[in-house]
């Protein structure tokens, strides 16, 4: 039960931190996407199907907070969860670099999907988006290492460990 509470709290707290504290530590105006990092890690450990559902729910929460283009973050994070979840069982999760590189891949997939959906909705797009994505990717990579270590140990011996209810 505790596992599910923590999994629900992670995106909630991430949005809270992204909307408040991280704006004081932005890199060239870019803030990290903690929600995405948790979606990537969840998908990596739980597989494509669960990764998709978790991505959809996390994205929906973000969309409801924003109140604009509801469904966009949901689709982008759901797709990211699906693609990264496909890697479950094929990668050596004990390697920290797997976590870090997965976040890089997740940031690119999520950004491309968001850009595509924005363009499809008739929104303008400047080259600035590429730089924003690059800075966000760097910021995400910076945080991915410590978060991955916490996530990995939590899965096996912490708040996120499965207690047989799955």
């Amino acid at each position: 039960m505790m596992r599910y509470i923590v999994l629900a709290l992670l995106p909630f707290l991430s949005i809270f931190l992204q909307s408040t504290i991280f704006h004081h530590f932005s890199i060239k105006g870019s803030i990290p996407d903690l929600v995405l990092i948790f979606v990537v890690f969840f998908a990596l450990f739980s597989g494509a199907r669960r990764g998709t559902v978790y991505g959809l729910l996390c994205g929906l929460l973000e969309d409801l907070y924003m109140g604009h283009f509801i469904g966009m973050n949901m689709l982008a994070k759901g797709l990211t969860g699906y693609i990264l979840g496909k890697a479950q069982g094929t990668v050596f999760k004990e390697n920290l670099w797997v976590g870090i590189l997965s976040v890089a891949a997740g940031t690119i997939i999520n950004s491309l999907t968001m850009a595509f959906l924005l363009l499809a909705n008739g929104s303008g797009m400047e080259w600035e988006v590429a730089f924003t994505t690059l800075y966000q990717c760097l910021y995400n990579l910076l945080l991915a290492g410590p978060i991955y270590l916490w996530y990995y140990y939590s899965i096996y011996d912490g708040l996120l460990r499965t207690t047989g209810e799955n």
């Binding site: 949005i15 929460l61 109140g67």
Partner: protein, 283 residues
């Protein structure tokens, strides 16, 4: 694959998401119950962080360098003296302008006739794709959707969503925002400034090739817009580009407001837009 229930479920979710995306891309009068619920949970927490930050900010003064503060006070006193002199001159100009307006029966629409509600920024957009901020005043304080939001430095944006104790401000730097503008120097070139998603760059589009626009020109709101009063600083032209067609120019505009450091804003609560036939605004 077509017999797989997960495939059909995913297909339905995608279709539903695309429909809600399209439905919520336009401004809405009210928020859904779910959105209200999400905001009612986040707003007190974000207010709390803002208050804590305010207290820590005050504590920081105790540790500041006293010499630096004294030098700053001296500098501000000098500036204050200079501004008092400027103010005297401006009062004269104001009186003169009012006399001329009366003679010409001009309708007064200066910024000083508007009621302003001060607000603190308690949160910002949680992602890099949209530019918005949450302020600590809402419907209980008389805030309504569409009210213009300004700062002493210039235009900030307008209220896009209102809940009881907070309101969301869509910034002019957001991709979905557009503002009708003119050049302050020449009073010409009715153009539209659009957000680019970057907090340090706006784009002015569709400028005729014969325009006298040049670098360092100040861009202000045109007042023809249904959403903003006239004469508010929007930014300064940093670069003028010729469009590939050769008949139009575009310009990069540096916003007058430093959006990354913004902490307080002012909401214009009694602005009644003029009746215009042409909807100039993009959102």
């Amino acid at each position: 694959m077509l017999g797989n229930k997960w495939f059909w479920l995913s297909f339905l979710v995608v279709i539903a998401a695309l429909i809600t995306m399209s439905q919520t891309s336009l401004p809405r009068e009210d928020m859904t119950i779910l959105e209200k619920a999400v905001h009612s949970v986040y707003t007190p927490l974000q207010n709390g962080v803002n208050n804590v930050r305010g207290h820590w900010g005050n504590l920081g003064y105790l540790f500041s360098d006293k010499r630096a503060l004294q030098s700053r006070i001296q500098e501000l006193e000098q500036r204050n003296a200079r501004m008092s002199i400027d103010n005297q001159a401006l009062r004269e100009y104001e009186a003169q302008a009012k006399r001329l307006q009366e003679m010409l029966e001009f309708k007064e629409d200066n910024l000083d006739i508007y009621d302003l509600q001060a607000a603190e920024i308690i949160a910002r957009s949680p992602n890099n794709w949209s530019k918005s901020m949450l302020i600590n005043v809402g419907a209980n304080d008389g805030i309504k959707q569409g009210m213009p939001v300004i700062h002493p430095d210039g235009l900030v944006g307008r209220i896009s969503k209102v809940s009881s104790n907070s309101a969301q401000v869509s910034l002019i730097t957001d991709r979905e925002m557009a503002v009708g503008v003119i050049l302050e120097r020449s009073r010409e070139t009715n153009g539209i400034v659009e957000g680019t998603g970057s907090s340090v760059l706006l784009r002015m589009n569709n400028i005729p090739y014969y325009s006298s626009i040049e670098e360092d020109d100040r861009v202000i709101t045109s007042g023809l817009s249904a959403n903003y009063p006239k004469g508010i600083d929007v930014g300064i032209v940093s670069k003028v580009n010729r469009e590939p067609s050769g008949l139009l120019l575009s310009a990069e505009v540096k916003p007058a407001v430093d959006f990354d450091r913004l902490e307080e804003v002012l909401v214009i609560t009694n602005y009644h837009p003029p009746e215009v036939d042409v909807d100039e605004e993009g959102e």
